[in-house]
């Protein structure tokens, strides 16, 4: 029984399994989007439908809603694998765990982050965003939502073994989301003033690169603690 180690094979296997599971229970993909949509609907109802006010608040609304809807899926990210013992099998595989984790986080982003990016034009209509701001919103979500998945997965890894880990995870993760929130909303703000916002995007991109490199290590050590 020959073993051939290919990192790509592992990555795609892990990623594919999670996607397969998500598509089998479509609620997992649909629910965060619905949640996002409902949160966005609540804001005009709460603060009034005045178009100027809405488009001024839109970046904040969209991003806060994005933070919250990513949290929804995070709770499930490692939970099933933890309960059925797959996590132990992944740790005891001869592949490096950070790579496995990378696969799972990418799958999580495809399930929760990517749909948000794709749905942004719709939200832009609801919140009276102009085209410039729409492009900026799409770009920040494109760079920012994977960042949310990576940071959030650290919290998910730390709390997966706990009985009521869900709320605790939000408490751990939300403060770490603040820089993403600040730079993303400011990029959108800047774009509405027709100014150059490439600086903010560059910072988001840099944070994403750091997260891709370092978060999987933190996540896998968190998972090892949870499994022990």
């Amino acid at each position: 029984m020959l073993r051939q180690h290919s990192y790509w094979q592992l990555f795609s296997a892990v990623c594919k399994k999670d996607l397969q599971l998500a598509f089998r229970q479509r609620a997992e993909i649909v629910n965060p989007i619905l949640f996002f949509l409902i949160v966005i609907t609540l804001f005009p109802l709460a603060i009034g439908p005045e178009p100027g006010l809405l488009s001024r608040m839109a970046p904040g609304i969209i991003w806060v809603a994005a933070l919250l809807s990513t949290m929804l899926g995070l709770d499930k990210l490692f939970r099933d694998d933890y309960h059925d013992g797959s996590l132990e099998q992944l740790i005891a595989s001869s592949y490096p765990l950070p790579l496995t984790v990378l696969g799972k986080v990418v799958a999580h982003w495809i399930i929760t982050g990517l749909p948000l990016v794709l749905m942004t034009p719709l939200f832009a209509l609801l919140l009276n965003l102009d085209n410039q701001a729409l492009i900026a919103t799409v770009l920040t979500l494109l760079l920012g939502t994977p960042l949310l998945s990576f940071i959030g997965a650290i919290g998910a890894g730390l709390t997966v073994g706990l009985q009521k880990g869900g709320i605790l995870m939000s408490l751990l993760v939300l403060p770490l989301y603040i820089p993403v929130l600040i730079f993303a909303t400011s990029a959108i703000d800047t774009s509405t003033m027709s100014l150059d916002y490439s600086g903010q995007l560059a910072i988001l991109g840099a944070m994403l690169v750091i997260a891709i490199i370092s978060a999987p290590i933190a996540i896998s050590s968190a998972l090892k603690v949870s499994v022990s």
């Binding site: 992944l90 001869s94 022990s228």
Partner: protein, 177 residues
């Protein structure tokens, strides 16, 4: 080698320490003269662990579960899994979600890995749970074959194994306050 002892004696905990999931309070686990913490990937390559939680996803089918496991272990996935599943008595159930199977059948899905690996050390926590007589006998045959190839098995069970295995060593843990 069989680990015995009453409930709560720490059999499962010891197995998890040996498999490298938990760190021991004192001392270390050695494999081929080296601490497993030092080169865990190398150790993991020669280890097959099946615990209480079997690592079988209940939403996926038996075939999908096995394919995934083969992939994460780096084995060839183009093997004839169907005939293997038939051999262990899961014919016709290969592609239904595992959650629809009975407890014994689910355990069989997990235990098929015993036919699909080249690991030297098998660490099995209560492998006979939920299996019927035929299943147990079949599993014991596989154990004998593995031992004949020079492999080692470490398991916990409340079954009496002495009649089938003449090289059996039993370590009994005691419950202490």
């Amino acid at each position: 080698m069989q680990l015995a002892g009453p409930n709560g004696a720490g059999k499962t905990s010891l197995l998890r320490i040996i498999a490298g999931f938990s760190a021991p309070d004192e001392g270390q686990v050695m494999w081929q003269g080296e601490s497993i913490a030092k080169n865990y990937d190398e150790f993991a390559r020669q280890l097959l662990f099946i615990g209480h939680k079997t690592g079988v996803n209940s939403q996926l089918s038996a075939i999908e579960n096995l394919r995934f496991w083969l992939q994460i272990q780096g084995y060839d996935t183009e093997q004839d899994l169907y005939s293997l599943l038939a051999k262990i008595g899961l014919v016709g159930l290969e592609d239904v979600p595992v959650r629809t199977l009975s407890a014994g059948q689910q355990r069989r899905v997990a235990l098929i890995r015993l036919w699909l690996n080249d690991a030297k050390l098998w660490v099995l926590d209560e492998p006979f749970t939920a299996l019927d007589k035929a299943g147990i006998a079949f599993l014991q045959q596989r154990f004998l074959a593995h031992l004949a190839q020079g492999g080692a098995i470490l398991l916990t069970t409340h079954q009496d194994l002495t009649t089938h295995f003449n090289e059996l060593q039993t370590v009994t843990l005691e419950y202490r306050h």
